[in-house]
Symmetry: C2
Subunit: 236 residues, 2 copies
Amino acid sequence: MNSSEKIYSGKTKDLYALENGNVLLVFKDDVTGADGVIDPGANTVIGQVEGKGRKSLAMTDYFFKRLHAADVPTHLVNLDLEKGTMEVRRAEPLGKDINGTGGFEFVCRTRPWGSFIRRYQQYIRDTEQKFDNLVEITVKDDERGDPLINDDTIVALGLLSPEHLAKAKDITRNVCRIVEADLRGLGLTLIDMKIEIGLIDGEVVVIDEISADAMRVMDEAGKVLEHAKVYEKLIG
Amino acid sequence: MNSSEKIYSGKTKDLYALENGNVLLVFKDDVTGADGVIDPGANTVIGQVEGKGRKSLAMTDYFFKRLHAADVPTHLVNLDLEKGTMEVRRAEPLGKDINGTGGFEFVCRTRPWGSFIRRYQQYIRDTEQKFDNLVEITVKDDERGDPLINDDTIVALGLLSPEHLAKAKDITRNVCRIVEADLRGLGLTLIDMKIEIGLIDGEVVVIDEISADAMRVMDEAGKVLEHAKVYEKLIG
């Protein structure tokens, strides 16, 4: 690969600066979790699962194609499933902090679950209630438990223009609808998912990946599937 | 007083149902805090301060008159500074939970401070930066540390219509501007404050109280004033 400088080593991916100005994402087999249990939401790498990186990449490939078909832009230039790498345009992550790191996570929910139920339990009469792709935006900040941030604050802190914020939320709902529809076709239900969004030349685009690691999916019996199962169902 | 039934005993006020359908608020001298230090944001009553209830009431009287002059509606019917009581129309607090208790707090900030800085420190380059009355909405829930809730969630959970939510946020900003202007006239700066809002016959109105307990104020030297000082400056 014509990569030169490693610019970032993340929990599940390494990033290299390419000579053409793009960035190469190298998907790793590392999995995060706590107490020996795999949890993609956790912040500690607890081991490796053979082939996991390539599966995340294959699923990203699958969904990015679906997004492009629906005119939802992403940062993808090309990818190599064999090598487990993806070349992307260099984007500025929305919600980047004053040190140039971090960013927002755009969470999309089709029903109350997990932390949402814990936070708002006094309002939830019916955990079966459906949301029309409810968006929450959180700040990547392991130490503070990824605090929620509201739209007014995002604008007041000058982190996003109202137009870019509205666009990013639209994109989040669109991605959520596409993933939800595809899973439904397999008899599965999307509960919630999260994506990252960035700016490239002023355009709001989906960045990072769309993988089972960043979504909660249940089967027809209402059982939440392990991520390995979701990969199996979607990409074999 | 023609009160009959005590319907609620709060940390700083008791509520009685009146025969005419209204509610009587009886302001108490109890103060909340932790480790012997008075903190109106705390959830434990640590003692009493002689005359404190009447001061909160007098300040509420002062600001409610200012709100009415600015066409911002409140639940006030009449008040008795001697007795330390306020008669109000019966309102449905915005953000009331499924048990009919709790509610939202509408927080208004003119600059980053306190929990806001802790949550979003990675975005705050300049703690002197000004906000044009930034609104955050939190859920009264001592156990969970009053979680933040975003506009989309409030609507998705059916807690408020988009129209009532917009109106409530407008009212919050208006109240904040009025309080800010009055304090500025005394050489003081409002940092942040919170109010409660309710519905009476479909109308969005300010409820509860507007007292120094629910605001953070600093003097010209940038020192945050004790609440007793704020009372002294505003109502003598």
